[in-house]
Amino acid sequence: MSRVRVLVGTRKGAFILSSDGARKRWKVSGPHFAGWEIYHMKGSPLDPDRIYASQTSSWFGQIIQRSDDGGKTWNPPGTKPEDLMTSEGMPKGESNMFVYDASPETGKPLTTHQWYDGTQHPWEFKRVWHLEPSLSDPDHVYAGVEDAALFESTDGGKSWHELAGLRGSDTGPKWQPGAGGMCLHTILLDPNNPKRISIAISAAGTFRTDDSGKTWKPINRGLHSEHIPDPTAEVGHCVHRIALHPSRPNTLFMQKHWDVMRSDDAGDSWQEVSGNLPTDFGFPIDVHAHEPETIYVVPIKSDSEHYPLKGRLRVYRSRTGGNEWQALTKGLPQRNCYVNVLRDAMSVDALEPCGVYFGTTGGQVYASADAGDNWKPIVRDLPAVLSVEVQALP
């Protein structure tokens, strides 16, 4: 029988939840990296025991951790003596070194972005929000960072370099931070086209490269954001999350600050599919593992009240790719619930039936082993959950 491993990043450490394919009994491991913020963990699709983790602290900065045994043991890549060596014979220890490209060849002199008050502000690295292992090489991994930029490593996380064409795509000075910071939080790799990557930034919007990251273009046509000076601007939209199904990579789904959107031309144009949602503000959006037109969101009351409407935690599912939504409530608290579900805190597994998982700022991780019809908490009292990723294992 298949197994499932749920990787949970929280404000105070990482937890690994594991179960057999029935997904009824769970074993909880952790906290790993106790006391540190774990923004994200994700395993390689080629080698599920190769897991990358973003470990951060306002005091001590960024750490990248890597496990090669499914999360049992961890090491910052490149810190063993047999790893990268300096001329003095010591490991370089550069796995946490994220330096914006300022070289005249590839890093255009793009040094400022828009600050909250409209003035220009220098780019300052703060943390890695999201790690996306490549579809073709376990040593190749992308990192979306705050202040927004895309980095990649081709040596298993030992060293990183910026794909500077994104910040250099002329619109950088117009990007601005959302309430959570100016973060590059989503990285979608196209399984049919290894040169195509789509990313999302709060609050700049979505961008796409078709040449492996050398050049990028904004793909925000059709977005309408009333809270910005030009509601249909090329950039400046607070995109909270985008998602795709690997069998239809030209169809993208988006949870924007307000509005749920879809695109059927790889982001070149977007249409609103909020339909009958009770509120179309929210953070995560995800796609059923086997049904490309079945999508999930968690509606949140508003941008100033980050909790479910009327204290009732409800996942909404559309089986029509949007517009027609059904509330999923069985097993979820339907009174006095005022948690939030953050943008990277929802995931699906590829078992049959599809499993759906999400974590809350109240420390609960909920799981449904039947595509959302019924829910149960795996754990109830973790620190605030920042991210949830699921691995289906043989």
Binding site: S58, F60, Q62, P76, M90, K92, G93, E94, N96
Partner: protein
């Protein structure tokens, strides 16, 4: 031997319990002590001082012999008690955030 006390989060990261003991050649300064800390524990590079500028991270402080040495020059000699190992060099995460 020079004695260094790391903050709890960095002890976890470096996988050390209690104090770290290091051989540091004279003159014993902030820079030479931190160089030795990072050489022995490469995963700490970038966590105490910036990778590129080598400046102390804003929310990290250095104390020794009851004194805040955070704003001393990195190449200024540390007190004799640190150089002799009778007192530890403390690396502290600033108390902030309630």
């Amino acid at each position: 031997m020079i004695r260094v006390i790391l903050p709890p989060n960095l002890r976890t990261l470096a996988r050390v319990d209690g104090e770290v003991e290091l051989e540091v050649k004279s003159p014993v300064t902030q820079r030479s002590v931190l160089d030795a800390v990072e050489a022995n524990h490469p995963m700490l590079r970038g966590t105490i001082r910036d990778h590129v500028t080598q400046l102390r991270r804003p929310m990290v402080r250095f104390f020794a012999c009851g004194e805040d040495l955070s704003h001393e020059l990195p190449d200024a000699p540390l007190p004799d008690a640190i150089a002799s190992g009778s007192e530890p060099f403390l690396i502290i995460g600033a108390i902030a955030g309630g």
